[in-house]
């Protein structure tokens, strides 16, 4: 059994006309050194991971699994502008930070971790990707502990950020950094499990067999289809309480993190998948 022994949730809506909230002051209190050469994506990763780990000592070989749908998009835009618009060589620091793994490096350094360090990007399903990888490694003993997070940054102007993601003009956007510490074992923390299904009907049958009144159901954005809505109605899942409805590419993580630290009874089920790729069901139980 895998436990979520800690979780953190930074979710900040960003409204039209407003500046992005500065993160330096918060980081000064959370980081054990002042980092140079960090962009906003790295700042968000440091903020969320440090909050998640606060007051806890992780195993030095704890693996880091960082996911993001858009990755370090602000820095990527800057680098592309230097290269293409300005026809100049990008600044080395900007170029290096176009890689999402740069954020993982800083998280590891800040927390004193020396284990494996992954960055995975999968639009609309980055949380599922990193959770799946971490749980496989934990199950097979590749790592004894996993720090799993997703980070999504917002870039200005918001109109372009929405356009980039094919979002309607009135959609509220958010930045997020949501992290979990997972490890095998049993205890007081919530347990996390994962099952995979080839057929959607099989997943539904399984869910029916374990569903209890008060359980929560969250369908991934990749499932925003008739099937997802039908499923929500069928399980009488109701509205999930907690995080804002503001959007970022890995919003499922906000629900999972909020539920992980809550004392609410029941289980949160997260469904994700596609008829051609198969289906996965993450569930965070009591």
């Amino acid at each position: 059994m895998i436990q979520a022994i800690s979780a953190s949730d930074y979710l900040q809506p960003v409204h039209d006309g407003a500046a992005l909230p500065p993160l330096e002051a918060a980081l000064k209190n959370l980081c054990r050194e002042r980092f140079r050469r960090i962009d906003r994506f790295i700042q968000l990763a440091l903020l969320g991971s440090a909050r998640c780990v606060a007051g806890r000592t992780l195993q030095p070989d704890c693996g880091i699994y960082l996911g993001s749908g858009l990755g370090p998009i602000g820095n990527n835009i800057l680098t592309q502008q230097q290269l293409i618009r300005d026809a100049e060589i990008p600044k080395p620091v900007n170029f290096v930070n176009t890689l999402g793994s740069s954020a993982g490096f800083h998280v590891a350094r800040n927390l004193g971790l020396r284990g494996q360090n992954f960055f995975i990007s999968r639009r609309g399903a980055s949380l599922q990707a990193v959770l799946g990888a971490a749980m496989a490694d934990l199950t097979h003993g590749v790592v004894g502990q996993a720090l799993v997070g997703v980070v999504e940054e917002v870039t200005l102007p918001l109109g372009e950020h929405r356009l980039r993601q094919h979002l309607p003009e009135d959609r509220t956007l958010a930045e997020g950094s949501h992290w979990f510490v997972l490890q095998p074992g049993t205890g007081d923390s919530r347990s996390l499990d994962l099952k995979r299904f080839a057929e959607f009907a099989t997943l539904e049958d399984f869910l029916k067999s374990v569903w209890r009144t008060g359980d929560r159901l969250c369908c991934a954005r990749s499932m925003e289809t008739h099937a997802a809505k039908t499923m929500q109605r069928g399980f009488d899942a109701g509205a999930l309480s907690g995080p804002t409805s503001a959007f970022h590419d890995s919003l499922e993580a906000a629900w999972l993190a909020a539920f992980a630290v809550s004392r609410e009874p029941g289980t949160l089920f997260l469904v994700d998948g596609h008829p051609e790729r198969g289906w996965s069901l993450f569930y965070l139980g009591a």
Binding site: R34, R36, R37, E88, I89, K91, P92, V93, V96
Partner: protein
């Protein structure tokens, strides 16, 4: 002709800005070693690249891999000498 003292001040400001150092220009001696383990500024190879690019953009002088130009990054004095020299950018 560029004023040498003014140039050295600009270079210190540029290094502080490009390398995100919590320093004031007067805290960087003109002859202090800039890069590497002997550097009191704790600048590394990525900082060297960052400075080289900034020098190219700001002064049109290219610091490349050959020894003569690489020496330019030894100190503020050598960097100022390099920029003020007649070498082809």
């Amino acid at each position: 002709m560029m004023d040498r003292e003014q140039l050295k001040l600009e270079l210190k400001q540029m290094i502080i800005r490009e390398c995100e150092k919590d320093l004031r220009p007067e805290q960087i001696p003109d002859d202090a070693i800039l890069i590497g383990s002997e550097s009191g500024l704790a600048l590394d190879s990525l900082d060297a690249l960052q400075i080289a690019l900034a020098v190219k953009q700001q002064y049109g002088k290219r610091i490349d891999g050959n020894n003569q130009t690489r020496v330019a990054l030894t100190s503020i004095n050598t960097l100022a000498n390099f920029i003020l020299s007649d070498s082809v950018p």
